[in-house]
Symmetry: C2
Subunit: 133 residues, 2 copies
Amino acid sequence: MIAGSKLRMTKQRQLILEELRKVTSHPTADDMYQVLRKKMPKISLGTVYRNLEILSDTGIIQKIDVGGTQKRFDADISTHYHIRCTICGRVADVHMEPHMELEAEAQKLTDYEILHHRVEYIGICPECRKKQS
Amino acid sequence: MIAGSKLRMTKQRQLILEELRKVTSHPTADDMYQVLRKKMPKISLGTVYRNLEILSDTGIIQKIDVGGTQKRFDADISTHYHIRCTICGRVADVHMEPHMELEAEAQKLTDYEILHHRVEYIGICPECRKKQS
DNA sequence: CCTCAATATAGTAATAATTATTGTTTTATT
DNA sequence: AATAAAACAATAATTATTACTATATTGAGG
């Protein structure tokens, strides 16, 4: 979340940001790479990782970690909750107001200084539910 | 969470469970390995991983994933919330009642079938706070 | 309490995700 | 246009975890 750092706007960085802003699927670095290489065949996976890292460090995008083996990225930097399908791993937004009172409640019970909180739901997505029945 | 599976009680498995039950520090597999090898020098890291996996699959312990690069384990299988220190990575319990109404609220807003939820706090632990000032 | 098949083990190799290195190219400022 | 800083592609290295394999242990049935 370090702001004010003047990033150079390279073709690669611009495309990465552009493509991430087009989707709401919370892609992994490799998901992004697969999409990006169609438009820029010489882009390297390292560049994708490095830029997603830089963009999230500067607060332009957010890195999310909702279980599974890979990190995911989201161009929506507002505080919002996620739900993850326990079968296919897909991650979706849950459009509810964040419960800020959870922080006040927890602060009474812990010696830690609470900075923020995350709520994650685990469930089954419509597609996987269909396949089950 | 598959119950009824009859596990063989090996010395290794017993010790792993015993040591995990002694702590509230949510150790990683490697943390466990470092402690265990003092009491059983020939135990292998693979055995630690395999048993922590089996024990969590059968619901005897729980595997937790609160960000960071390593999975953590907890002998306390009740639903409870965690807080993670953003500086040192330490994870502690937050002893508050789970807010089950979060699930009902989210269920109205998503097509996913909600199975459960997790709340994770991010903050600074007392030790790291001391060092900062 | 012995036998034996199933399961677990130690040790090691393999895999997956991510990060680091390096020599070259690009950016954007002078 | 010159140039220094930053970013790039390609590749190597690292970290966490899982898989493999030959040997050893467990516990049920006799």
